[in-house]
């Protein structure tokens, strides 16, 4: 890795464009906003209040109740993605990457199509499908003789979040799939051939050879899932509205933040408390990412091909 010691201008050149655009258009505005979390409104003036907003957020039971509810929901949302989306994605990628699989491109595209859809459509179609009224899901369950299992999932506090998480899994399974697929493609053929010769085939080949080699990519999808889930917003918003019903059962940090920051219906936007929530979310995500970057990523072995 290490190169010569003289000033390496090229490192700067490689970094500069990204840093510039990113800092100017993303970081400065965002941190300007997060900065608001230290202020509040007194009459028509903005005053510095230190950590008061956070005291409110975590101390006032009305705020903290909503926050912990959202955090808990968010955690469940994340757990479902980790347990369902990523394993399915990896499984599909593993199947798709088997050499000489016929129609692989078709499958790959088909499975990726949901990821391309806009949230408006996804929300619409799943509400339509799961609707107790228009009969698609109940009809199909009826078909297989399981009509009894049907419930208006999106309307029941105990199911709604899980149902939406699964819809989100449906939509985004293409992401881990594609990432893992790309990682699998970079495993040299001859290593796989050697495994074939050694009698290591099928699943054991996957577990013993491929999985260790794509572990860094699995790390990436885990952290991306984490970040993505803790920032998630649109699907819940489209399906359940900003109040994330029923009875806040689907309220996650993103919807909570949106409601607070931008306001909703009669509730006016409160950029100060909104920023406080955003900062708290940011803190949570940052901790997760740091755990990954410093605790996990550095320990993952990488292999050059």
């Amino acid at each position: 890795m290490a190169r010569g010691k003289p000033v390496r201008w090229h490192v700067g050149v490689f970094l500069a464009p990204a840093l510039l655009v990113y800092t100017a258009i993303m970081i400065i505005p965002l941190f300007g906003t997060l900065n608001l979390s230290l202020f509040n409104k007194a009459g028509d003036l903005r005053v510095f209040v230190g950590l008061q907003n956070f005291v409110t957020l975590f101390g006032d039971p009305r705020w903290s109740g909503a926050f912990w509810n959202a955090l808990g929901n968010n955690f469940w949302f994340f757990v479902i993605h980790m347990l369902v989306q990523n394993p399915i994605g990896i499984l599909l990628a593993a199947l798709l990457s088997s050499p000489r699989l016929r129609m692989a491109a078709f499958y790959r595209t088909a499975i990726f199509v949901p990821t391309i859809l806009s949230f408006v459509i996804v929300g619409f179609v799943w509400k339509l499908i799961l609707s107790p009224i228009w009969g698609i899901a109940p009809g199909m369950l009826d078909w297989v003789g399981l009509k009894g299992l049907f419930a208006p999932w999106l309307g029941k506090a105990e199911y709604a979040l899980t149902a939406l998480a699964l819809v989100s899994v449906w939509q985004f399974v293409g992401i881990p799939m594609m990432l893992i697929y790309a990682a699998l493609l970079s495993i040299p053929d001859d290593v796989i051939e050697a495994a074939e010769m050694d009698g290591v085939t099928g699943w054991s080949q996957f577990w013993k050879i491929k999985l260790p080699l794509i572990l860094p990519s699995i790390g990436i999808i885990s952290i991306l899932t984490f970040v993505g889930n803790f920032n998630a917003f649109d699907l819940i918003y489209v399906a359940q509205g900003a109040l994330a019903g029923p009875d806040f059962a689907t309220d996650i940090l993103g919807t909570f933040l949106y409601r607070t920051f931008f306001g909703f219906q009669l509730q006016l936007g409160d950029p100060y408390m909104g920023s406080a929530i955003a900062t708290a979310m940011f803190g949570i995500i940052l901790i997760g990412v740091c755990v990954y970057l410093f605790g996990i990523q550095t320990r993952l072995r990488r292999y050059q091909f």
Partner: protein, 395 residues
């Protein structure tokens, strides 16, 4: 050189009406001023508008939500004071109240329309089942029972998935009859009544009984689902806002009628929610304030009132000069103004300024009560506690 004014609005729905009727009418009368109606999807409107105003890229004319949302814009200096416009005289104080400072000193939006709550029903179904329009709560439930017993129709189309249906078309629809309209609403603001009082809990009690008359899986039923259930003829009664009229007219292939929220005892004074809903203000930083004011004067005129109300049956003009409407259903709704006492939604003025937000809480409570996951009494207690946590009546 023509001046172009941009109108910010959440009314995507009205795009064609503006383009085809309102704008040509104004432009014809006011050469030199061009109008662009630039609506935003309703859910994004407040957030997008606020951002644009702060950054200074918002349009010249701004469609106003009622009460605090607009008041806040005015306080921040984003909306101009329009008290001086001549057309303001065309509106009653009640009509203007939604767009005034708390002390009534300044009015910052030109009122455009209100919406009225009530029930729309499938006349064919009523005829078929031999039902009469109910006027009291008991009759109302008797009708629902009959429809249910017959089984052809879902008695009532309402879902709780979107929550606001339950609050707006449920609680605020039937509530004024219990809390006696403005009397109760103002008492609540004054702090002399509490949400735990019987007149505020009773509507919840009625809502709790609705559950049995809603369609299967109403918990997951969304607002468009409800609309569709009714317009497709599968449900007999639809707790409505008058804004549905245009859409229902276009979609329903059966005859419709409407009735006001039933009263508790026959002969009681009836109260309706006649909610000031939409107005138009001027961006204080507009580069063309004169032209914008000219336009706003027009918006306040009876010409506009007539055009608007007739293009959008169900959005009733707030103009003091009555508008003759051609749509029978709209006529039915507006006729209640004569029979009953009007009030606005109980949560809109002042009471939704803090956290927790009473309007949002009401949505949630109404949905919970219908689903049976919260008792009416508990809902009242929770709401009052939330209100107490930040609202100190000034008495």
């Amino acid at each position: 050189e023509d001046v172009t004014l941009t109108i910010e609005s959440w009314r995507n729905d009205d795009l064609t009406i503006w383009q085809d009727k309102l704008i040509p009418a104004f432009e014809a009368a006011n050469p030199g001023i061009k109008l662009v109606f630039a609506p935003t999807a309703p859910a994004e409107y407040n957030a997008a508008l606020n951002s644009k105003l702060q950054a200074g890229s918002a349009g010249d004319l701004i469609t106003c939500r009622p009460f605090d949302a607009s008041l806040e814009l005015y306080n921040q200096g984003n909306l101009a004071d329009l008290s001086g416009l001549a057309a303001m005289a065309n509106f009653s104080p009640v009509a203007k109240s939604a767009w005034q400072t708390d002390d009534g000193a300044a009015t910052f939006c030109m009122p455009m329309a209100s919406v009225i709550h009530g029930f729309i029903y499938n006349k064919d179904a009523f005829d078929q089942l031999g039902l009469a329009v109910p006027t009291t709560v008991d009759e109302f439930f008797a009708v629902l029972d009959k429809i249910k017993a017959d089984g052809t129709y879902i008695p009532m189309a309402m879902g709780t998935n979107d929550q606001w249906e339950a609050a707006t078309m449920g609680y605020n629809n039937i509530g004024p009859n219990y809390w006696k309209g403005e009397e109760g609403r103002l008492a609540l603001i004054k702090g002399t009544q509490k949400l735990t009082d019987p007149q505020w809990v009773a509507p919840y009690e009625q809502l709790a009984k609705w559950k049995d008359y809603l369609g299967d899986g109403f918990e997951a039923q969304t607002y468009p689902d409800s609309q569709n259930l009714f317009t497709l003829g599968r449900a007999a009664i639809y707790p409505a806002g008058s804004w549905e009229i245009a859409g229902f007219n276009a979609q329903a292939q059966f005859k419709m009628g409407a009735f006001a929220p039933p009263v508790v005892n026959a002969g009681d004074t009836c109260y309706i929610s006649d909610h000031t809903d939409i107005a138009m203000g001027m961006n204080a930083k507009s580069a063309h304030p004169e032209e914008a004011k000219k336009f706003l004067e027009w918006v306040g005129s009876s010409e506009f009132a007539d055009l608007y109300a007739n293009s959008l049956p169900g959005f009733f003009s707030l103009n003091s000069t009555p508008v003759t409407m051609t749509d029978p259903l709209a006529q039915e709704f507006v006729s209640w103004r004569g029979k009953c006492q009007s009030t606005i939604r109980s949560t809109y003025q002042i009471l939704s300024r803090g956290t927790p937000n009473l309007e949002n809480e009401t949505w949630n409570a109404s949905a919970n009560v219908i689903k049976g996951t919260e008792t009416p009494a508990d809902a009242g207690k929770r709401l009052q506690a939330g209100l107490d946590s930040w609202y100190k009546p000034a008495n």
